[in-house]
C-alpha cells in the first residue's frame, strides 16, 4: 500500500430526500453507498475503508459492521463516528488521514437515516435525549432553545435581526427550488418567515431546518487514482476541526465558536484565505446558525453577514453563494446525512455539474459541519485538481 500525497473525492451520491416511507436506515445507506461507488466508476470490492455515523431510527452498537454486512462490503478498515451534526465532516477528515497514511485506497463515508417517517413512537424518546440529563433536560431545553440562546446573545452583541434571519430562509428556499430532489421547494416570503409560529424566541418555525429521510455518501480516494476516474477529481485541500464544549453553558463564548479555528486550519492547510472560496456549504440547522458561522469563520465581519443575506449575496448568482442546494433549511436534513449533503453539493459545484444552480467559475468550495450547540466544528476546503 502506497502513502498518498493527495486525497481526492472520487464519488458522491445522495438519495431522494423528504418523506420516504418505503425506506429504512440501511436501505438509505445502501442506495447512497452504491450510488457513490457507481459515480466513482469503482466496484464494491475496491472499497477498502468504511466510515459510518449513527442512527436515531435504528440505533446500533456497530453501525459500520451492520452497513458492511447489509451491502456486502469487505472493508479492511471499518469505524463509526458519533459526534452529532459534525460527524459527516469528521468522516471525510478521517478518510483523508486513512488515505494519506496509506491504510486505504478508497474510503466510503456513508450516512443515512429515515428520521422523518422512521421514528414513529420513538419521537418523544429521541427528543428527550437532547441536552444534559441532569443540568439541561429538567429545564425543558429543546434543540431550538439551545440555538436560540446563542442567537439571542448574538442579536444583543452584534445586531443580528429577525430580518437578517428571514432573508436566509427565503434565499435558501429559492435555491432549493432549483434542485430536482429538494425536500421543500415552495417559495416563501419574508412575511411567511416573520409570521411563522414562534418556537423558541428569537427562532420561528421557518428559522428551523427540516426533518427528512435521506442518505448521502462520499468516497475519499488516494490522489493517484484521479486520472482513472470517470468524473473530475476534487482534491481535498485542507481540513480543520474546532472543539470547545458540549453543553452550551460550558462554551467559552456565546458569540464566537470553534468554527473560527476549524476554518482557519482548513484554509491554512490549503494555503488559501476566505476570499478564495467560491461557494460555502455550511451547516444551517437554523437561519441564525448560518449567519453566526459565516462571521466566526471570517467570511464576513461581525454583524455583516445578515446585511449580506438581505442584499441577496448568498443566492446562487449572488456575490457569495451559500448552500446552493437549499441546505438543511430547504434541501433536507437527515441526521448525519445533513452535513454530508453539504459535502456532496460542494463537490458537484466544483465538478460544474449543477445545471441551473451552477456557481460561475467555481474552483474552490468549503463545506462545514457542526455538532451540538456550536460545540464541535469541521471545515473542509476542496478544489478542482
Amino acid at each position: 500500500m502506497r502513502v498518498a500525497t493527495k486525497a481526492i473525492i472520487s464519488g458522491v451520491h445522495d438519495t431522494k430526500v423528504g418523506a420516504l416511507p418505503e425506506s429504512t436506515c440501511m436501505s438509505l445507506h445502501a442506495q447512497a453507498g452504491m450510488g457513490a461507488i457507481r459515480d466513482a466508476g469503482l466496484q464494491v470490492g475496491d472499497i477498502d475503508g468504511l466510515l459510518t455515523a449513527y442512527s436515531f431510527t435504528s440505533p446500533q452498537i456497530m453501525l459500520g459492521a451492520v452497513a458492511a454486512e447489509y451491502i456486502g462490503l469487505k472493508p479492511k478498515v471499518n469505524a463509526s463516528i458519533s459526534m452529532g451534526g459534525v460527524t459527516a465532516g469528521l468522516m471525510v477528515a478521517h478518510a483523508v488521514a486513512l488515505v494519506k497514511a496509506g491504510m486505504c485506497r478508497h474510503v466510503l463515508c456513508l450516512t443515512g437515516d429515515n428520521r422523518l417517517t422512521g421514528l414513529g413512537e420513538k419521537v418523544q424518546e429521541a427528543l428527550a435525549q437532547v441536552g444534559h440529563q441532569q443540568y439541561e433536560r429538567p429545564y425543558g431545553m429543546s434543540v431550538a432553545s439551545g440555538f436560540a440562546l446563542a442567537a439571542q446573545a448574538y442579536m444583543h452583541e452584534f445586531g443580528m435581526t429577525h430580518e437578517h434571519m428571514a432573508a436566509v430562509a427565503v434565499t435558501l428556499r429559492a435555491s432549493a427550488a432549483k434542485h430536482p430532489n429538494a425536500h421543500m421547494k415552495k417559495p416563501i416570503s419574508m412575511d411567511d418567515v416573520r409570521n411563522s409560529r414562534m418556537i423558541a424566541s428569537p427562532l420561528r418555525m421557518l428559522d428551523c431546518c427540516l426533518v427528512s429521510d435521506g442518505g448521502a455518501a462520499v468516497i475519499v480516494s488516494a490522489g493517484d487514482v484521479a486520472r482513472d476516474l470517470p468524473k473530475t477529481a476534487i482534491e481535498i485541500l485542507g481540513v480543520g476541526e474546532g472543539h470547545t464544549h458540549e453543553h452550551l453553558f460550558m462554551a467559552p463564548s456565546l458569540v464566537d465558536f470553534g468554527c473560527r479555528e476549524s476554518a482557519a486550519a482548513a484554509l491554512g492547510q490549503a494555503g488559501l484565505s476566505a476570499g478564495d472560496v467560491d461557494s460555502a456549504h455550511v451547516y444551517d440547522c437554523f437561519t441564525s446558525t448560518l449567519l453566526i458561522c459565516l462571521e466566526s469563520m471570517g467570511f464576513y465581519d461581525h454583524g455583516a453577514a445578515g446585511e449580506a443575506a438581505l442584499a441577496g449575496e448568498f443566492a446562487i448568482d449572488g456575490r457569495f453563494p451559500v448552500n446552493t442546494n437549499g441546505g438543511l433549511m430547504s434541501y433536507g436534513s437527515s441526521g448525519a446525512a445533513g452535513g454530508m449533503f453539504h459535502v456532496v453539493e460542494a463537490v458537484r459545484q466544483l465538478r460544474h455539474e449543477c445545471g441551473d444552480r451552477q456557481v460561475r467559475n467555481s474552483s474552490v468550495a468549503l463545506a462545514h459541519t457542526l455538532g451540538g450547540i456550536f460545540s464541535a466544528h469541521c471545515s473542509i476546503v476542496m478544489g478542482r485538481s
Binding site: 414513529g120 413512537e121 419521537v123 418523544q124 427528543l127 428527550a128 437532547v130 441536552g131 444534559h132 440529563q133 441532569q134 443540568y135 439541561e136 433536560r137 429538567p138 429545564y139 425543558g140 431545553m141 429543546s142 434543540v143 431550538a144 432553545s145 436560540a148 440562546l149 446563542a150 439571542q152 446573545a153 444583543h156 409560529r197 414562534m198 418556537i199 423558541a200 424566541s201 428569537p202 427562532l203 453543553h247 452550551l248 453553558f249 460550558m250 456565546l254
Partner: protein
C-alpha cells in the same frame, strides 16, 4: 404519537459526581465546587477540576446571585410534560461565584427578561418527584 400522552418530567439522576449538589438543592442551597489547587469554581460537579485537573476539590454555598447571559422564551417544548409551563424562559445565568449554568427564569413576565438582568436563586420541586431544582427569579 398522541399529543395527550403524558411523559413524566425529566428528573436529574444524581450520580457519585453530583450527589452533593442535588442533596444541597433539596436543602435550598446552590452548592458550588471550588478547586483547592487553582481556586477556580466549576459547574457542574466533577471528579477533577476542568481548569487544572487537580482532584483536590471542595464545596461551598453560592450566594445565589447572578446575571442573565442569554435567554429564550420557549413556545414549543421538547416534551409535552412542559406544556403547562408555556411559554417558559430557558436561560444561561452567570452566577457571581464565577460559573455559568442553565436554568429557568420564573416569577416574572417572560417578555420582561433581558440580557444582563440581575437574578437570584430559588428552588422549585419537580412535579412527580421529591427533587428540588434551582431556578432564578428577578431581583
Amino acid at each position: 404519537m398522541s399529543d395527550t400522552a403524558t411523559t413524566p418530567r425529566p428528573v436529574p439522576l444524581a450520580d457519585q459526581d453530583s450527589r452533593l449538589y442535588w442533596e444541597a438543592a433539596n436543602r435550598g442551597t446552590l452548592l458550588v465546587q471550588r478547586c483547592n489547587a487553582c481556586g477556580k469554581t466549576q459547574f457542574y460537579f466533577r471528579s477533577l477540576c476542568h481548569h487544572c485537573q487537580s482532584e483536590n476539590l471542595g464545596t461551598e454555598p453560592s450566594k445565589g446571585l447572578g446575571s442573565v447571559a442569554s435567554f429564550s422564551i420557549v413556545y414549543r417544548p421538547p416534551m409535552n410534560c412542559f406544556k403547562p409551563d408555556l411559554p417558559y424562559v430557558v436561560a444561561l445565568v452567570d452566577v457571581d461565584e464565577g460559573f455559568r449554568f442553565m436554568t429557568n427564569i420564573v416569577n416574572c413576565d417572560p417578555a420582561s427578561v433581558h440580557i444582563g438582568q440581575r437574578v437570584r436563586v430559588l428552588f422549585q420541586r419537580i412535579d412527580g418527584s421529591e427533587q428540588m431544582l434551582p431556578k432564578m427569579e428577578p431581583l
